[in-house]
Amino acid sequence: MDLDSGTSSTVGARVQAIPGRPAQHGALYQFKQQNLPACKPVLTPATVIATFLLMGFIFIPLGLITLRASNSVVEIVDRYDIECIPEELRSNKLLYITDDSISKNCSRFLKVPKSMRAPIYIYYQLDNYYQNHRRYVKSRNDKQLLHGLGDNSTSSCIPLESSGDLPIVPCGLIAWSVFNDTFKFSSGSSELKVNRKNIAWKSDRNHKFGKDVYPFNFQNGPLIGGGKLDPNTPLSDQEDLIVWMRTAALPSFRKLYGRIEEDLDADDVIVVQLMNNYNAYSFGGKKKLVLSTSSWLGGKNDFFGVASLFIGTFCMLISIVFLLLHVKNPRPYGDAMYTSWNKKSSSS
C-alpha cells in the first residue's frame, strides 16, 4: 500500500533560529516545537492513477491465477444422508436413525470425472450444522483434554460433565456429538487404502490433547450423541475427535476424514461402503462425502478468483475515468486562486 511513494519527500523542518537562545536545535527541542522532519504525502493525479493501474495489474493476474488453481482441483461431492435411507423409511428418518436394529450400511457409487492425483482428500461435509453455536462452542474443557481428570472443574461442560456421578473424559457437547459415519473405498475389485493418520493438526496432537489422557465414562449416558471412543487410546491419538473438536467457523463445513494415496483415473467408479450412523436428521442437517484433490490454494473455490478479477477491472476502470477527468478538467495544484477567500473576493 505504498500510495504516495512517487511524491513523498522529506522536508526538513524550517525553524527560525531565534537569536540569543542557543542550544535549541537539538532533537528534543525540535520535538517540543513540533518540528520533527516529516514527509507529507499529497495525492496527485499521477500517483492516484498510477496506484489504481497498479492495483489493476496486480489483481487481474492474481484472479486468473487463483481461478486456474481452483479449476485444477477435481472435486466429487455426494450427498448421501437421504439416499442411504431405505425407501420405505424416508418418511420417518428419525425412526431410521434411532432404531439400532436397522442396518446403517449403505453403498454409494462415485464416478471420477477427471483423473485425480494423489493425495486425494476425503472430507465429510455437514450443512446447516451450527458448530459455532454459542452453547456448543462453550461446552468443552480444554484443560481436561490436556491434563485429564487432574483438573476437576468440568462445569463448563454441562450437560455432559458427568454421568452417573463419574466425570466424563472428554466432557462436553462437542466431544459427545463426535461424528461417527465411516467410509470404505474400493475401486473395481481392489480396496483403496485410506490413510487416516495425520488428519489433525500436528500442534493439536502434540500439545493440546494429552498423551496420557484416556477416554473415561464416555457415551455412557442415556442419550448417545455420536461416536464412541476407544478407552485404551490416548486422546492425542484419537484424530477424529481432534478434528471434530476444532469447531467449524461456519454452519456449512468440511472435516478431513483421511487421504487416498493413489491416483484415480477418469471414469473410474469408486464404491463407497459407509455406515450411516450420525444423526443429522433430527435438525435437518445435510451430510455429504467429498473427495477432492488440492492445489496451493486449498480446495475448490472460485470466489477469490472472481472477486479479484472484479477488483482488478474496477481499478483499471477507475484509473481510466480519473485519467479522462484529469485531462478534461485539470486543476493546478496548490493554486491559491481556488481558496475560498480568493473565490469570494473575485466573485463580488
Partner: protein, 1004 residues
Amino acid sequence: MVDGQFQGKKWKDVKVGEIVKIAANETIPCDIVLLSTSDPTGVAYVQTTNLDGESNLKTRYAKQETQAKVPEKERFIGLIKCEKPNRNIYGFQGNMEVDGKRLSLGSSNIVLRGCELKNTNWAVGVAVYCGHETKAMLNNSGAPSKRSQLETHMNLEIIMLSVFLVALCSVTSVCAAIWLKSHKNELDLMPYYRKLDFSEGEMESYQYYGWGLEILFTFLKSVIVFQVMIPISLYISMELVRVGQAYFMIRDSRMYDAATNSRFQCRALNINEDLGQIKYVFSDKTGTLTENKMEFQCASIWGVDYSSTEASLEHGHQAECSAQVDGKVLKPKMKVKVNQKLLQLSKNSFRNVEGKQIYDFFLALAACNTIVPLVVDTSDPTVKLIDYQGESPDEQALAYAAAAYGFMLIERTSGHIVIDIHGKRQRFNVLGLHEFDSDRKRMSVILGYTDNSVKLFVKGADTSMLSVIDKSLNAEILRATETHLHSYSSLGLRTLVIGMWDLSVSEFDQWHFAFEAASTALLGRAALLRKVASNVENNLCILGATAIEDKLQKGVPESIESLRTAGIKVWVLTGDKQETAISIGYSSKLLTNSMTQIIINSNNRESCRRHLQNALVKSRQPLAASAVPNNFEGFSDAIGTPIALIIDGTSLVYILDSELEEELFELASRCSVVLCCRVAPLQKAGIVALVKKRTADMTLAIGDGANDVSMIQMADVGVGISGQEGRQAVMASDFAMGQFRFLVPLLFIHGHWNYQRLGYMIIYNFYRNAIIVLVLFWYVLFTAYTVTTAINEWSSMLYSIIYTAFPTIVVGILDKDLSKRILLKYPQLYGAGQRREAYNKKLFWVTMADTFWQSIVVFFVPLFAYWGSTVDISSIGDLWTLSVVILVNLHLAMDIIRWNWVIHAVIWGSIVATVICVMIIDAIPTFSGYWAIFNTAATGLFWLCLLGILIAALLPRFAVKYIYQYYYPSDIQISREAEKFANQRVIGGNRQIEMYPIPDGPPR
C-alpha cells in the same frame, strides 16, 4: 495562646477568638486581625502570592491602640464585631472595642490565611475567620467547568451510536427468537443445542429458560458483545491527547514571554479544540492590548505643557536622582525620562509662583498615593534602590516620576510620610486618606505640614476632577489644562488631573469629625467615607495634569489585523473613557479611517432605543447596496463599508437585560468592530453572554485584571494575560499567556491543529469501534443468532486497548495538517474551524457509510472464500482480527498528513504488536484456538484474503478522497499542496494573497 502563654498548635485546631502569634516567613493559618507587630508603628508586611499571585509586599497595620499592649504581660479584654464570612479578599469591615474605645477595622488590618509574613519579626493577631470560613477557602470554588463544543456535538453522535447499538441487539434477539421458534421441536435433541439434560436421571431443560427469557438473554449478551460501539475509550484517549497537546502548547517557544519569563499555561484541559473555532474575541484593553507599564510622559502644570518625549533622551541622559540617608545613597529603582527644563525649574524654584506650583504638583504626585517604598539592597553597599510597591501602576509611574524630579518618597507609615525634596528630608503627617474608588474616580490625601498648615491634595480622572474644581479660580489655566488634556488623550495617553486646597482650621476640624465618625461606623462605612470625601474634595485649585503613556504591547496591531483577516470579530471592552478607547483603537489598527463609526452614548432608555434603530438603518444600507447576501461568514463585513460600533457603559446599562439586547446584537453582528468603553466588570460578562446566548459561535475573552474575571469565566474560552494587574484573571482563565500577540499562534497554530486533530480523532474512533462491532454482528448472523464471537475474547478486549489505541492518540497529538508558517501566513485558514469542517454530521454519516462497506468487505471476503471448507472458528477469527486491525491502522495511515518517525513507529508498531499478541494468545494450549494463527498463516488463501480485504475495503475511500480533494478542494488542501510544491515552482497567483504578511517568528 492559652493561659497567657503561646503554644504550638495545629492549623486545624485554631479557633475563632484565639490570639495567634506568627513569626517571620511563616504562613498565616487563619484570617487574623492584627493586634501588634514587631514594628513599633504596627506595620506588618505580607506577601499574598497564594491569594492573588502578586509578589509585591503589602502592608497591613495593627491599630495604634493595641500595638502598645503585650498580651503575654497584661490581660485585656476586647470585642471584635465583623461581617459574616464572605469571599471578598479585598474587603473587610469590623470594629473592635478595647478599653471602652471603639476602633474601626478595615481591610488593612486583617491578614488572610495563606499569606506569608515578611520583613516583620513577629505579629500577633486575633483569629476572626477559621478553616472553611477563611476568605482564601471561600474563594476556592474554582472556575465553572466548561465543555468543549466538539465534545457536546460528539455526545449527540454517541447517542446516535447508542440507538444503533440497541438496533443491532434488537435485530439479533428478534432473529434469535425466530430461529428458536422455527426449530422449536428440534431443540431437545439437536447435538449443538441439547435442550434436555438426562444426567440427573430425570429429564429437564438445561440452561433453557423459556422463549421470552432466552430472547432477553440474547439481547443482554449482544449488548455485552457489541458495547464497544460506544467508544468509552474515546474519552480517555481524548484526555490523553489533550494532555499531549497542552504539553506542546506550553513548550512552544513562540508563546514564551522572555520579558516576564513566563510560559504559556494551560489551565483547563478540556477545551483545547475550542481554540480552533473562535468567532468572537472579547479583549480587555489595559494590560491586554497595552502593556500596562505606565510611563510618565507629559505634565501640564499651571497651564504650561511640559512634555518629556522631546526632551532628555536624545541627550542620552537620564535623570540621576538620589538621596543621602545615613551615609547611604538611595535611588529609585526605575528610571524615568525627564524634561530638562522642568527639572531645572523644579530644582531651583521655590521663590516665584510658578515654582511654588511645580513644588505642589510634585508633592502631590509623591504624596497622594498608596505607594509603599521598599528599600532594596544592591551589590554596592552604599547604594540602595527604592522600589515603589503599590497596587496601581499609574501611581507607581507617578511616584517614580516625582522621584525623578527630586521628590522622592522615602518612607510611609499610617501616620506620616517622609519625602526627600532635593536632598532635604521633609516629614508630613498624613491626617487623612481617601482611597480611590470607582464612583468618585479620584483619591485625596490630607497632609499636615510641619508648620501646622493643612493641605488637601486630590488626583483623579479628568471628568470627576473638573466637576469639583473651582471654575472661577484661574479660569485661564483651567482652559489651558483642558486643552492639554484633550491633546494628551487623543495621543492615547491616560490623563489624571491634580488639584489642591489649603484647608482652614475650621474646615479641617469639620472634616476630621466627620471622618472619625465615618471610619468607625460598622454599617455603610464605605458610603459614609465616600460622602465625607466628596464633601471635602470640593472647590479645588487646579495644579495641573499628568499624562501617562499606556504602551501598546508588541505586535498588537498586527495580531488584530490577522485576527480580523481570519474572520474573527474583535470586540474591545474597556473601562477607559471613550476618547482613550478610540485612540487606542486607531493605534492598534482596530479602527481605520475607512470605517463608518456609529457612536451610542445615551443617558436613558428611550434615546438608546432611538440610537440603536437609527444605527440599524444605517448599517443595513451599505449591505443592501452591495447586493451581497447577508451571510454570517464574517466576510460580508469586509465587502461593504465596514462599520465600527462604539458604545459606552451608561448606554449598556439600559440595553443589557432588556428587550434592546436583540437590537444591539443585530447591530453588533453587522459591525466589524465593536468598542465598548466605560464598562463595568459585570457588563463585560453581560456583553459576552449577549453574544454567547444568540449564536452557536465560540467566544473567547482575554484580559488581565480582576475586572476581567467575570468575562473570562463567561466566555467559552477564557484567556488570562499574566501581566501587572495581579493574577486573578489568570486564576480564572482556561489559558494564560504573557502577551496579547501570542493569541495569534495560539489560535491559528495550536487552535487550528487541536481542532483538526480532535475532530478527526473522534470520527476515526467512531469508525474504529463501529467496524469491529459490525464484523462481530455479521458473524452472529451465521451462528444461529447466538452471539458467538469468532474473534477471541482477549483480542476483542485488547482491540481498543493495544491494537488500535496508540496510533490514534499519537496522531491526535502529533499530526499537523499544515505547517506553522502557512497557518500564520494565511489567517483565513482558521475559517475551517469556524465552519466546523473537521467534524460535522455529514462527515459522521459519510464515515459511517464507509465503515459499513469496510466491515462488509472484512467479513464477507473470508466468509465466501472459506465457505464449506475445513476452516475452524479460531483461524477465521484470527484472520478477521488481523485484517480489522491492519485495515483500521491503514485507514488512519491514509489520512495522516505528516509522517514523522514517531508516527511511523506507532502505526507499524501497533500492527506488529497485534500480530505478536495474536501469536501469544494462540500459543496457549488451553485456549481452544491453540496454534490457529500458525496453521492458517501457512496457507496461501490466508494471505490472499488479507490482501484482498485491505485493498477492496480501502478502494472506495481512496477514490472518494481523491475526487473530493481534487475537485472540491478545501482551503487546507490547497495550502497543503502549495506548501509542498512551493519549492518546486514559483506560484504567480500567490502574490496577491500575501496581503497580510505576518512575521513568521515574532522577534524577541
